[in-house]
Symmetry: C2
Subunit: 261 residues, 2 copies
């Protein structure tokens, strides 16, 4: 396999504030055009989940929410806004940990994260943004459209930033991926000394989203789409047109497999 | 603050197999020279922990090890090689989880990871490599030497690849960092709508190591040093020559802060 030797991580500038119904592919391709850049075969294109949520209308007005008794109880225990707690409960399949100012859940999609991804930043006063309805489907749909319109073979990843167990701070992670394996399984390959790798699976989709997050930034920068160029052998050589993609599910432990639940 | 808009991730090729006592800075600068490349102000240079360990002689011959009764018991419970279990116990401050073929510990350094970082890949038969003695000190020392010899201001990161809670696969993470903050604290900054960020700390050192890991690869590629170019505002603008660096400690939760122990 040809190896990745050099990557470029390119922030797409000049995108407008995204609203419900916006066509993200057109906006992306126009911005790319304005930058004098083109898509290349093998590019991995990372969309922050927030603009997908906004284009889907997954923005909630807090004053209009009905708050349940359970949400009120958890809000008192955690010190959080009861309306935000209600949204978190609506998005959660299961509560994993509840602590001061912190609710860790498994979302409907199967992601273990704080606050079910409900986010009050970069949206108007008294509003909150939910995770996309189905980020895996969004990744596949965006990839199809970009490939049709550009004539290039690409991967699309949907990123968010999650906290971690054991380590402070958030990093970019992947919540939907098409055209690239979420895990690169190297079991069976030989190392430089001829030993067989026993357990190594590399979470390449998460690493691509972490690299993109350095350019997106966490907060006010407004770089919601990033091209990671140079991972083409992951995008092109590992592609199977006949088998269905496993997508981001491949990276998610079931509760039984998970040592930390 | 000037923003990161574009990154380059550059694998350093042509490095020899590293042995105890090797001068990594000389080998790195020679390889860079052979590639026709130079260090630039603001470069973040990522060294995989394995070559630091090898240069420090942190390589153990398994047949020479004395195995304790405790190591034998855990080896039977986990199905692991008793000699490897002994090394893990020697490197651990505390056992966090023990399961089939899996021992999660907190290392002497404070890292929560599988097998205390003890690794049998890319080393000879019946040998294993331990984590560096003090990867934070190694990062600071490498940075000083590279800055002295190049005349450029850089950051140095020591990377390893750890598994995660909740998600399968390993990703590149940071176990030592000098010249760059481990966490970029954005609390107090305003978002695009004028709201104040409340909880966002971005683990930029881990993201830099994740990006580098895409080029290093997980297994047989032999790219042990990577330059991440384009994070100069993190390296140059946030530098304080007067205050001591907090380094990688900043990212490590104490046991009391950690929701998942």
């Amino acid at each position: 396999m040809a190896r990745v030797r050099r990557l470029e991580v390119i922030g797409i500038e000049g995108l407008p504030e995204i609203r419900e119904g916006d066509d993200l592919v057109t906006l992306f391709m126009d911005a790319l055009n304005d930058m004098g850049t083109e898509i290349e075969d093998g590019d991995a294109i990372v969309f922050t989940s927030k603009i997908i949520s906004k284009s889907e209308g997954r923005v909630v007005s807090l004053p209009e929410l009905q708050v349940s008794g359970e949400a009120m109880r958890i809000a008192r225990a955690t010190g959080k806004d009861p309306r935000i707690v209600q949204l978190i409960l609506d998005e959660a399949r299961e509560l994993v940990r509840v602590a001061r100012n912190m609710i860790i859940v498994e979302t409907r999609h199967g992601f273990v994260c704080a606050n079910a991804g409900v986010d009050e930043s970069n949206v108007g006063e008294d509003m909150a943004v939910l995770l996309p309805e189905d980020p895996q489907a969004s990744a596949a749909q965006l990839r199809r459209e970009i490939e049709e319109r550009s004539g290039k073979k690409v991967a699309v990843l949907v990123s968010d930033s999650f906290g971690r167990a054991f380590r402070d701070g958030v990093t970019g992670i992947c919540i939907g991926v098409s055209g690239l394996p979420a895990l690169l399984d190297r079991r069976g390959e030989l190392d430089r000394f001829g030993k067989v790798a026993r357990i190594t699976k590399e979470a390449v989709a998460d690493e691509v989203c972490a690299a993109a997050n350095l350019v997106m930034g966490e907060f006010s920068e407004g770089i919601p789409i990033v091209i990671v160029r140079g991972v083409h052998e992951l995008v092109l050589e590992r592609r199977s047109e006949s088998e269905p993609e496993s997508g981001i599910k491949e990276v998610l432990f079931s509760k039984e497999e998970d040592l930390f639940r």
